[in-house]
Assembly symmetry: C2
Homo-oligomer: 176 residues x 2
């Protein structure tokens, strides 16, 4: 569907928040706090953070006052790394990232009528994601992008963040 999963959504939100907190010398940050701040489901968020630790994007500390902290400089961590860690390598189409070797999975190979285009699109998206760092993500938050939205087509689904930002430790999930 050409869409990121909600896992990636949550991860980017959490990472952006970690940059902020870390900038303020607040370190590490527990999963619980992140979940409460943005109204994310805690168990799911924990799964995601675990994966980010395994990918060495985050470092974790156990025990009271433990939590997660960034394992990399925000300016060194690309969105591509985050997405790849959570969703696996991007492949627009099944053969997007194949080398054009005959017999290697795609028998059409060089004759495939859409190979070039798909590969081109694939590379552009990859490039953009590789260039965009967590630092950019954080700064983007600081100065919200202008509304260039030519969005006449709107898909109706909720946003990833379900809560208002006020202060941490406010009650999430009101009486459903």
């Amino acid at each position: 569907m050409l869409a990121l999963t909600r896992k990636t959504d949550y991860a980017l939100i959490a990472l952006s928040y970690l940059v902020e907190q870390q900038t303020q010398g607040d370190n590490p940050v527990s999963a619980k706090r992140i979940a409460e701040t943005f109204g994310l489901p805690l168990p799911l968020l924990m799964n995601i953070l675990k994966e980010l630790v395994q990918a060495k994007i985050l470092a974790s500390t156990r025990g009271p006052r433990g939590g997660y902290s960034l394992a990399t400089e925000p300016a060194q961590l690309s969105l591509l790394e985050v997405i790849t860690a959570l969703e696996g390598p991007i492949r627009l189409t099944q053969c997007a990232d194949r080398l054009p070797v005959l017999g290697q999975g795609c028998e059409l190979s060089a004759n495939c009528p859409i190979r070039g285009t798909v590969r081109s699109l694939h590379q552009r998206i990859n490039q953009f994601l590789a260039d965009m760092t967590l630092q950019d993500l954080y700064e983007d938050k600081m100065e919200p992008a202008g509304v260039t939205g030519s969005s006449d087509k709107v898909a109706g689904r909720g946003c990833a963040c379900r809560n208002k930002i006020e202060s941490p430790y406010t009650e999430p999930r009101q009486t459903a």
Copy 2:
């Protein structure tokens, strides 16, 4: 997963083939012939072609010697239209195409830490897809793109096209 569906894959292959056949004055082309040429599952392909007709991207003629033909100039048909027709509007993330109106689905709205970045990425992809036309897709086939593949990460799945291109009307699907 940031991937196109196989439906779109098949559609692009079929459309590209239609341009080719139409260029050679061969018109219309039956679903059966397309399916056999590329080894695609006929019933599925027919579903896809039906959807493209409903989206007014293709025109259909019934009866013997009937089939599908392009309803638009290849240079006027963008990939975005094709993808949108088959998969619905692209939304990288749930709030990607929302206008930043408070209370409208996402309560974080202007405070959402990743809104700007996601929106930016979303627009770039949209723009690329809107600029790329079926004509480009077809020409791309003519001069296969060079291997710029920095693909150290390869996802192992089959290619959309399961058959060799030789001539139409060769037997598809050998003894499985």
